[in-house]
């Protein structure tokens, strides 16, 4: 056997494919990470605060303390992800040195650069990035993101933004697929995305990397809704550890993500779960405090 290369594009996208059909859970302690793994999470996102608490927190939200990330890595055998600020390539370098399994260049943290995202091709660790529409997804893939997540409004427990953005991406792909090859150049201009990624997406009739859903998922039904709308997996942030019984919510959301098209099972796992996280109406959030709009 001759080893060709480590950390290739195929292994980066491949790990995302392995997470398909699963739930990635936000955790803020090693104990929560163990609960998440025990409930069937496919990966955990190591954070200092879940998005609901970031909303209440006044000040700059940054990468988590490496000590916390190391504790969470030591606590579980499933992959561990961590977030860096948009454009903050030094936080990303630190997360790579910590050997996290995926880096989320995330709008949930305070952006470090209002023009440039990280050149993710330069890293050996794979990256996931958020998007609100097809153009944003394809720009991130062009920069080297090996996994896309359509953004919901994180920390609200309100699925409306996740649905809006998933529908926008799926509709964009259908429209692209319908175009003639000579019409893709103008489409790339309109999408403000690299032509090669546009051509590949049009040909495949899907994104060239997996697409998950993140932000606003609070119930098993929310997770199943995003799966039926085309998400291959779901990220759940505040929805689990801000609910009345995190273990039961975590298990129920895992089952709902697998059996997303089976209403009998969805009814069964949704029954008697206790209070979900308290939700936020989008109208209650001033536009300048919305997280999903961050990303360029």
């Amino acid at each position: 056997m001759t080893t060709i290369e480590t950390s290739t594009w195929t292994t980066k996208v491949g790990l995302a494919r392995m997470l398909s059909g699963g739930v990635i859970m936000d955790v803020v302690t090693a104990d929560q990470a163990r609960i998440a793994q025990e409930a069937g999470a496919v990966a955990v996102m190591a954070l200092e605060r879940v998005p609901t608490d970031i909303r209440k927190f006044v000040g700059v939200a940054r990468m988590s303390d490496p000590k916390l990330i190391e504790e969470i890595k030591a606590a579980v055998s499933i992959p561990v992800m961590a977030k860096c600020r948009i454009g903050h390539f030094v936080e990303a370098q630190i997360l790579e040195a910590l050997e996290v399994d995926y880096i989320d260049e995330s709008e949930v943290l305070t952006p470090a650069d209002e023009e440039h995202h990280i050149d993710k091709h330069e890293f050996r660790v794979p990256f996931v990035c958020g998007c609100r529409d097809l153009g944003e997804a394809l720009r991130r893939i062009g920069e080297g993101a090996a996994l896309i997540r359509t953004k919901g409004e994180a920390g609200t427990g309100n699925i409306v933004e996740a649905v809006r953005h998933m529908r926008a991406v799926q509709k964009g792909i259908r429209q692209l697929h319908a175009l003639r090859p000579d019409e893709l150049f103008a489409a790339a201009k309109e999408l403000r995305a690299p032509i090669d990624v546009v051509q590949r997406t049009a040909e495949l009739d899907e994104l060239p990397v997996p697409n998950f859903s993140a932000g606003g998922v609070a119930t098993p039904a929310d997770a199943a809704l995003m799966r039926q709308l085309g998400a291959q997996a779901v990220f759940v942030g505040s929805g689990i550890f801000k609910s009345e019984s995190p273990e039961r919510y975590a298990q129920a959301i895992v089952k709902a993500t697998t059996h997303y098209d089976n209403p009998e099972i969805l009814a069964e796992v949704s029954a008697g779960l206790g209070e979900p996280m308290r939700g936020l109406e989008l109208g209650e959030i001033p536009v300048e405090e919305r997280l999903a709009v961050r990303g360029w």
Partner: protein
């Protein structure tokens, strides 16, 4: 009449509780068989073969047990249906799992070690020589891959890594690889699975 009817396409299930299911479904179609997603025991009815895909074995194990899939999958195997496990699928098929996890479908006389090559940064691609499927090497994609740390007398090693550790094994009609043939265009392993269906005794009756 019956002897003149064209043989029906093999029905190949892919355990679809979690993991890289789509790539296996596509591979099954490409070798001329009919893919079936398996989430509940009833989905196993009438299958000729079953694939256990890559994914997170801890998650898959919980969903297998939550919906009672363990016994009917073992029954399918004992009825003579061939099985293929890739990566996490190999862990599910092992009789022994290093570091104490209990086995799920103990059909391979091996011990496996999870995440044996390290974290995602150590995921890699390599050419794998596997004489059982031909002289041309396979392109192996190893993602947080396991290895076979011990091989019992009933299992046969089909391929080893650069350090001589087994990365593909077979026991009767059960095949397993530490890598992901479904993520390449090489369909020799999926064809081998279908060929084994042809030799299954009694199951298709």
């Amino acid at each position: 009449m019956a002897s003149q009817a064209p043989s029906r396409r093999a029905r190949v299930g892919v355990l679809a509780v979690q993991g890289a299911v789509q790539a296996h479904l596509r591979a099954i179609r490409e070798v001329g068989a009919e893919p079936v997603e398996v989430r509940l025991p009833r989905d196993l009815a009438g299958l000729d073969a079953l694939i256990l895909p890559g994914g997170e074995s801890t998650t898959m194990r919980k969903l297998i047990d939550a919906y009672g899939l363990r016994e009917p999958m073992l029954a399918l195997a004992s009825a003579g249906a061939p099985l293929l496990g890739t990566c996490a699928g190999m862990i599910l098929l092992a009789e022994r799992i290093a570091e104490g996890d209990s086995p799920v479908l103990p059909l391979l006389d091996v011990e496996v070690r999870r995440n044996a090559y390290g974290r995602q940064l150590d995921s890699f691609e390599a050419e794998v020589s596997m004489p059982a499927i031909g002289v041309e090497p396979l392109h192996g994609i190893f993602i947080r891959a396991p290895v076979v740390s011990r091989v019992g007398p009933r299992a046969e090693v089909l391929a080893v890594d650069a350090d001589g550790q087994p990365i593909a094994v077979r026991q009767g009609k059960v095949l397993a690889t530490a890598f992901h043939p479904e993520l390449t265009e090489d369909r020799r392993l999926h064809r081998l699975l279908i060929e084994m269906v042809g030799t299954a005794v009694g199951h298709r009756a």
